[in-house]
């Protein structure tokens, strides 16, 4: 792959890149995180070069999952002209999942991603982002995952993007003066052509492995409290008991792609007539009804496509660690079909295909 060394910090370098691509008229727009108001960040489709100054491509925040936002942009049709999108690896994987689900199109997209040092809970920057930025930069440079990150980021094993055209090297790099960009595809090389002097190179796999191991080290602490023997019905009830049934988790989830969620549809609604039966049977009933049904049901629906981005936990107003449970579960169910959500955009989602000779053990 070709390595382009671009002057400036990652943010400056990516802005430089996007400006260059616009100037060269290689792209019509850039889809990237930007500071839409002081201290407020949102994904933004920028068509005017002047606005690139507000772009904050690598700020360690994920107010929404960018993959889901790109699907908003391309659900009905591909973008009409070349457009650069800057996404974190889990957002990219969400995008690929959504492509398989007919919710997004990749045509005309230049996929820019990064080796990801994780993001912080969105709420944690309400008091101002600067302290976070400092801590995060140091952590990135030394390639360690610090405790301010989202739980799912701290245990993320997929922080190196798959299927990106360009990868910005963040993790374990000194990026104060210059930032490395790796053109991973022929398309990437074509777009970056002339950006800056380039050289052939390979990623520093040794360092990336070390980071991977370090994150794996956090898994027990973050995930194991949701092991089977810790859950069960009573476990689920103590985890989800405080749920206020706002469904923010599914609303924030990039792979919950339905317009009307089954659990909000008429089909899932309780019928007044059945309440008496429930009382006969149980003597009581938690309200609103169907909390566990909703959460476990959602696991049945999306665990195969879960990319572990952590949006669900981030959006939960009562701090339920939804993402940790999903991440643990997703590893298991996806492993069962030797599948990794979003590792590419072609692979069939396990439930949309089958093999005649498989899973003999389940049919007794």
């Amino acid at each position: 792959m070709k390595r382009f060394q671009v002057p400036g910090t990652p943010d400056e370098a990516v802005r430089e890149l996007l400006g260059f691509l616009m100037e060269q008229e290689r792209i019509r727009g850039a889809f990237v995180l930007a500071e839409v108001n002081p201290g407020g960040f949102a994904y933004t489709l920028i068509a005017d070069r002047q606005l690139l100054g507000r772009a904050a491509p690598t700020v360690p925040l994920m107010p929404v999952n960018g993959g889901r936002m790109v699907s908003r942009l391309t659900t009905l049709e591909p973008v009409p002209e070349p457009t650069a999108v800057v996404l974190r690896p889990c957002e990219l994987r969400a995008l690929f999942e959504l492509v398989k689900l007919g919710q997004a199109r990749l045509d005309n997209l230049l996929l820019i991603s990064c080796t990801c040092g994780g993001v912080v809970p969105t709420r944690s920057v309400l008091g101002g982002i600067d302290p976070v930025l400092e801590k995060h930069r140091d952590a990135l440079e030394s390639g360690v995952t610090w405790d301010g990150l989202r739980d799912t980021c701290r245990v993320c094993a997929e922080f190196v993007p798959k299927g990106a055209d360009v990868t910005v090297a963040l993790v374990g790099k000194d990026t104060r003066q210059t930032t490395d960009m790796l053109a991973e595809t022929e398309k990437g090389e074509r777009f970056l052509e002339g950006l800056s002097p380039s050289s052939e190179s390979e990623p520093d796999t040794g360092m990336l492995e070390r980071v991977g191991e370090e994150r794996a080290g956090h898994r027990p602490a973050v995930l194991d409290r949701f092991s089977p023997d810790a859950l069960g019905i009573s476990g689920l009830i103590s985890v989800f008991g405080r749920c206020i049934n706002c469904h923010a988790c599914s609303n924030a989830c990039p792979v919950c792609y339905c317009n009307t969620c089954h659990f909000e549809s008429a089909d899932a609604e309780q019928k007044p007539g059945t309440v008496s039966d429930e009382l006969d049977q149980r003597g009581g009933l938690r309200l609103p009804v169907g909390t566990i049904y909703y959460h476990v049901g959602r696991m049945l629906h999306v665990s195969l496509s879960c990319v572990g981005c952590g949006m669900c936990s981030d959006a939960c107003p009562v701090n339920i660690p939804v993402a940790s449970i999903f991440t643990r579960l997703a590893g298991s169910v996806q492993g069962m079909f030797d599948y990794l959500a979003g590792r590419d955009a072609e692979e069939k989602i396990p439930t949309s295909t089958f093999e005649a000779e498989e899973l003999k053990e389940v049919g007794a």
């Binding site: 019509r28 727009g29 930007a34 839409v36 108001n37 002081p38 201290g39 407020g40 949102a42 994904y43 933004t44 489709l45 068509a47 005017d48 606005l51 929404v64 908003r72 942009l73 659900t75 009905l76 049709e77 973008v79 009409p80 002209e81 969105t122 709420r123 309400l126 009573s234 009830i237 008991g241 405080r242 206020i244 049934n245 706002c246 923010a248 609303n251 317009n259 009307t260 909000e264 549809s265 609604e269 309780q270 007044p272 007539g273 059945t274 309440v275 008496s276 009382l279 003597g283 009581g284 009933l285 938690r286 309200l287 609103p288 009804v289 981030d314 959006a315 107003p317 009562v318 701090n319």
Partner: protein, 395 residues
């Protein structure tokens, strides 16, 4: 007004619990806030088995779920529910009645019991340290002031039986903390109390006086809150500052008891599925366009949809992951438009919702050049926001 005075035995909640035990005998089930098994929060519980009353906490320190939504979750439409006595805060009861008017809850055999509401703490604060807040809430029940309550609660003027069409009400005799007063507010309520043996005709004027006194305090708090909001919610810029941290999760809508649509228009395909070409056109026009977009359209639009029925319960603000002062804005705007139409949500089950009726001779002030010119009201905001859309800024 007459009622039955019941001496407090143990804590206020203990007393309320024992009252409920009596009422449960006279009805099929009781719906009441209860402590969840893991203890750190509360959920509504529909109770038939008296044993379950142990977990019941009629006055909980938090309101994680708006009771009207809990009631609605048992099924939309009318008819079918057994005789259920719902223990609700006044704001929850108002919302329940607004939903009833929209055929979203069944009140045929359901009775509403309201209790003088001391307010609630923000749920996330509470979750941070339940024991501490439990202690503080007990003190509040003893009549102590606490500044940690939700802003909406501190400025709530509907904390007692003002303007809420409940069937039974329980007053906390602030003048005489040693007692509570049970009063009926409808024939069905009267029958229930009689059947349960908690009817009475003790004098309760001291309580009524207490309520009035408290009302004066709260009204003062509300006026200053509205004054402040008048300043902050002025114009698009002020409005945008208020919602600056909004991440468009729409959680405020999802927990709002009045937002009863299965599919919110602002989440519907019509709203969120545009052609890429259109997005680009808009981006071209402004230089850039944020995703998800239409933050202002959502909040102002939602206001159009529900402000007339807003009961200022604060559920939206409580569920906002970004601490946007949603409910303070909505309560402020809601009060304005409700006053406009002389409408009070939840005051009566029969009163028609303003947008479902009209008078031939009304609102002439809005004709021609008339209307409202003062800043900080929905009309002008939306009006301005239309003008300002075209400015070269990320919207």
């Amino acid at each position: 007004m007459k009622g039955k005075r019941i001496p407090v035995d143990g804590s206020v909640n203990d007393t309320l619990r024992s009252v409920l035990a009596l009422l449960l005998k006279a009805t099929d089930a009781v719906m009441v806030p209860s402590r969840i098994p893991s203890k750190e929060s509360f959920a509504y519980l529909l109770i038939r088995d008296p044993k379950l009353l142990e977990a019941a906490t009629p006055l909980a320190p938090v309101m994680p779920v708006q009771g009207a939504r809990a009631l609605q979750s048992m099924g939309r439409g009318r008819g079918g529910l057994p005789g259920i006595l719902c223990v609700l805060r006044p704001c929850e009861a108002r919302a329940a009645i607004e939903l009833f008017k929209r055929n979203q809850v069944d009140l045929e055999d359901v009775l509403l019991l309201t209790i003088d509401c001391p307010g609630a703490f923000p749920t996330r604060d509470y979750l941070g340290n339940p024991e501490e807040f439990d202690r503080r809430f007990e003190e509040i029940l003893q009549g102590k002031q606490d500044d940690g309550l939700r802003p909406d609660c501190k400025s709530c003027v509907g904390f007692s039986l003002q303007e809420v069409a409940s069937d039974v009400h329980i007053g906390l005799l602030r003048g005489k903390p040693g007692e509570v007063a049970v009063v009926h507010r409808s024939d069905r309520g009267e029958r229930l109390l009689a059947d349960a043996g908690v009817a009475g005709d003790d004098g309760i004027s001291d309580w009524e006086a207490g309520v009035e006194k408290e009302a004066r305090v709260r009204t003062g708090a509300r006026d200053s809150a509205f004054q402040e909001m008048k300043g902050r919610a002025a114009g698009v810029d002020g409005f945008e500052k208020l919602f600056a941290d909004c991440v468009n999760c729409h959680n405020c809508m999802r927990v709002c008891p009045i937002c009863y649509c299965r599919q919110c228009f602002f989440d519907s395909g019509d709203s969120v599925r545009l052609r890429a070409e259109d997005y680009f056109a808009r981006a071209q026009h402004r230089g850039g366009i944020r995703f998800p977009g239409d933050m202002m359209q959502f909040h102002v639009g939602r206001m159009y949809h529900m402000a007339l029925s807003c009961v200022a319960c604060g559920a939206c603000e409580d569920a906002c992951p970004m601490d946007v002062p949603v409910s303070r804005v909505f309560a402020f705007v809601g009060a304005g438009v409700q006053e406009q139409f002389g409408y009070a949500p939840g005051r009566s089950r029969e009163e028609a919702m303003p947008m479902t009726t009209f008078k031939e001779d009304e609102l002439h002030a809005f004709e021609d050049a008339g209307g409202i010119s003062a800043p900080g009201t929905t009309e002008t905001q939306s009006g301005k926001s239309k003008d300002q859309d075209s400015e070269g800024k990320v919207e």
